[in-house]
Symmetry: D2
Subunit: 338 residues, 4 copies
């Protein structure tokens, strides 16, 4: 951390900065320039020290962090790439893992038909939502535990792993043993009680990026799960909020590269929520595979026109089949496989 003093700062004000640094077990180096004093605060834990602790001291002009504030998720903490395993499946390996299915689980028939189709096309994990966080209290809120029960039946019938979202810690009781991969949604990325509960469960989980979170905050949220003892964290980019309105969110495709550089965790992309419209989903899916995503989370519905939620961004069976052909070709072109 670098503390720049104001021009004309007194010696006792510099001393106060040094004293605070030492009280936090940090080393200090002073740079006395002609105009100003700059204090370098060094040590392995400076990334976790709040810059405000120095910024609040008298005659401090600015404080700049040079170590990133996330720790367990960082490449510096762990150099080898993490892979998450679900049975035989490996997320973060050579294969690009396709997770597909309806936004909401509506019935056994709907989920089973979708599962058979997406598996036949090459998807290896079935998605389906039971607990739906909705912007309006007057919207369909999902089937809840009944939806999880449906998912569990289809999982047993087809032997396909399931990913589903939970929104409250106590959902774990109903979900943990009937679902293979837990999803923490964008709105809950900073729901710390939920992060801790999923951390303690040790279950494989997807952590979606908050819709206005920086990459740094996203990785700090991952630190909550990792620090509770759960190494099985998969990051998911799903679009961020910007001023542009032609898509529901702006897919931050660069974040795939940033996350690959700065962390050891696998990262997948959700083109459906970013696009908000089925016509735009294939473009984003193709871009995500080319960018190096370790997987995709795609909404597919047997009858989008009559879906109870997110029909507009759901692919039909035939559109999904076509897209999978394209994705396989792109994966092959960059030395991966679907």
């Amino acid at each position: 951390m670098i503390v720049e003093m104001q021009a004309g700062a007194r010696q006792d004000q510099v001393d106060a900065v040094v004293a605070r640094a030492r009280s936090l077990s940090c080393d200090v180096q002073l740079n006395v320039g002609t105009n100003k004093v700059v204090v370098a605060i060094l040590g392995p834990h400076t990334g976790q020290i709040n810059t405000d602790l120095f910024a609040v001291l008298p005659a401090v002009a600015s404080v700049t962090r040079i170590m990133r504030p996330f720790k367990l998720a960082s490449r510096e903490f762990r150099q080898d790439a993490t892979t998450v395993r679900i049975g035989d499946l490996v997320i973060g390996g050579k294969a690009v893992v396709i997770m597909a299915g309806p936004c909401s689980i509506e019935s056994h028939e709907q989920l089973l038909a979708t599962a058979k189709h997406v598996r036949a096309c090459g998807a290896t994990i079935l998605r389906g939502g039971a607990f739906k966080p909705r912007t309006s209290p007057f919207s369909f809120q999902g089937l809840g535990v009944d939806g999880i029960e449906v998912a569990s039946q289809v999982r047993e019938e087809l032997g396909i792993p399931i990913v589903s979202e939970i929104t409250e810690p106590h959902h774990l009781e109903d979900v943990a043993d009937r679902v293979d991969l837990l999803q923490i949604g964008a709105r809950n990325m900073q729901n710390y009680a939920l992060l801790r509960a999923v951390g303690e469960s040790k279950r494989p989980c997807i952590l979606k990026r908050g819709l206005a979170s920086t990459v740094t905050e996203w990785l700090q949220a991952a630190d909550y799960i990792l620090s509770a003892g759960n190494p099985n964290v998969i990051l998911c980019e799903r679009g961020i909020r910007t001023y542009e309105t032609s898509t529901r969110f702006t897919l931050d495709i660069s974040s795939v590269a940033v996350v690959k550089r700065d962390t050891h965790l696998p990262v997948i992309v959700d083109p459906s929520h970013a696009a908000g419209h089925f016509q735009l989903v294939p473009t984003l899916a193709r871009a995500a595979v080319a960018a190096g995503a370790d997987g995709l989370l795609i909404e597919v519905h047997p009858d989008p026109i009559n879906a109870l939620s997110d029909g507009l961004q759901s692919l039909t069976f035939s559109d999904f089949a076509s897209l999978m052909q394209e994705l396989k070709a792109i994966a092959g072109a960059i030395g991966r496989e679907i």
Copy 2:
């Protein structure tokens, strides 16, 4: 809701739009232009109908909502301004209510001293946090229930009402009877389980705007609380995330006017979290009072340099005293009082 068909849409495609509208109990008027057909969908509940239900139909070019998607919070639902009462205090009346105190409750001594000072300066509600949602798992997380216990003692000693944040539904057990005003923080604005629990509690509450939420989403979140039977909702603008980094968040001062126009709920402003730095807090506080805010939520600490959280944005006792003089003058100039 207005559905614009694509140029060349077939009659059966227009009929499908009409049929869906009727199935949702709406009236329909067709506008057949030379180039395209436009379908107006009318009825008192169209604000709560998801536009996607029409956008997903074949040959639909666009769907535009003309009624706002929030309902119970709207001026159309209730024309008279809502006031929230806490004992003798009225929020949403002529007085601009100042709520001040430390970010985190650290000790009985700290809270009591602050309470005495801010009350002497004209604040009428004491703020103090016990459950702190923090971006990093390695930061101070608040005193929890012990902090609430401290707040409860100070409340009894001084007879000053207390506002404090809760972050999980089960906190209500510990907090509901020991605090006068519940705060739902920005990170939890779309934590629907929490919104419902606070709604069912019927307790006066502050709903902070999510840090990347639109005004519309904020009012939909208010609808969650209102629809659970709790009319005592106070909105709080606290800055939104933008590209600008000279302040922690960008205070959306216009939202005070927008909210006053579009809803019947009182609205207050938190200049401390928006600014992120004590030097900028007075400017934002003055602007908020002049803009017509019904109250302010200000962080004050006896010793900001040694505060356990948010010291940088906390005012000292003397800075707070000066600010209150300025705010009283501005309130007077616009026909209000502090």
Copy 3:
């Protein structure tokens, strides 16, 4: 355009809306609901009518545009895809056209060496800047006319077409005959004098998206050039400003799909300015080709460490060679070629 009247609007207020619509040569259809009146304003030119003309009338609650405000750039105006030709090269056809070279032209030697290398790797247009718009007046501002002279020599020696930016209308005198493709930079997307001048020149041009422009505003800027009689417009996505700081700008990869859907113009992507760092450029370039971009604009420098501008985002010769191999494979996978 749809005008929603306030509940309780009087007949004369509705009449004023109708009268204004008729004065603008539009058709009108009234929808009289139980609560409110909605006026649909129809006609082929409603996209170019400012919504404020209605919003300003008494008792108008809202005005919603259903036709897009851009016209000549729209798919509705021209259904077939536009291609731009530069000699034998076609932009907007099957080939993905790679334009590569240094940010700034620094010397004949530098530009010639770069041109030979990028051409050997498969690039077909040489980029090089002479007039550099820089954020600070104290930064290197480019070689100006001397730089254009260097470009012109290299163009003659190698027979490779050149793209270069102009920032003022009078630059056309020096540039028009010595450069094959004019570039209008992001900061000048709404410099209307420049747009008109380039429009009147009829020369092929690249219109970069403004760093905080919506897709709609970008296409309205294209309308300025098109309406001056120049059909040779190539759009270029180069990243937009958001709150995220891990990259210089956030590449809006979705805009490629949106632009392909809504306009007939070719669209290319500049991964260098979006990324701001050479390590991230290849990821964005791969994503752009997979997304369907018609070309790329990439910064390459023989010695990025000593470049006079944008060294950090410039690829070395060897990194560019590797990237081109990857891009050729991806282009092949989606049925295109480089």
Copy 4:
């Protein structure tokens, strides 16, 4: 500037950083920690050195600027507040200067009537646009030189100073002697040819903040004008682009405080363009005065319903008169005057 080396950086890589710093006439101090080396680069000109010059060197992990990149506009360069004088008027002094008038000059009658009214209410500068930058080529583009001629007549008749926008350097010929205060609009904040021309003219000018510019970029743009020898620069906050759509732009009220802290230049606020709707203008105007703005730029029109541009955000004569009463009271409450 602080250069952090990657863990494990070699000595020759550190040496390269030191050598580059020395080549730029900077002092260097090395901080050799247990994990990494940090190089502090010191000297009075480091604010104007591009960080990329170091970031591009091998084994550099990050580069952090601690001096701001703007120079002539900074408080460090000049400690005393700058005031801009127009005849007897002082901008940046005790008085809050109100500049009011129509968006576009439409006729002599319109401008004269408005001038008389706003002056009677307390405004001391008349605004009126002749060269209008419009998003669409199909919109009204202003009266051009004829509009300036009208402004010049009204100025002579009433003796009121005029502010008007110019969009191209050659406009100066027609405008410089007929207008008292030049305005550089938000879209042209980084039109460097225009900035230089206004700088060389030495005329008092308003520099509006770009609609997606940071405060830092705004002050760098001011440096362009100042470095051309023109000290008479007035900054103008007019709202920035964010994701929120309930107002046309989001007024960044905090920027008034930031600019007051970081520069010596006067700052005014344009509530009309930020709000985009006349109903919201008074709230923003009140907030701006309370925040400490040195002036306001407000659109007023004798007949907003029939204005040729921006009617929706223009105040009527009677609304403006009421607002001025409120503003005078607020100015008085904070020790200023209107």
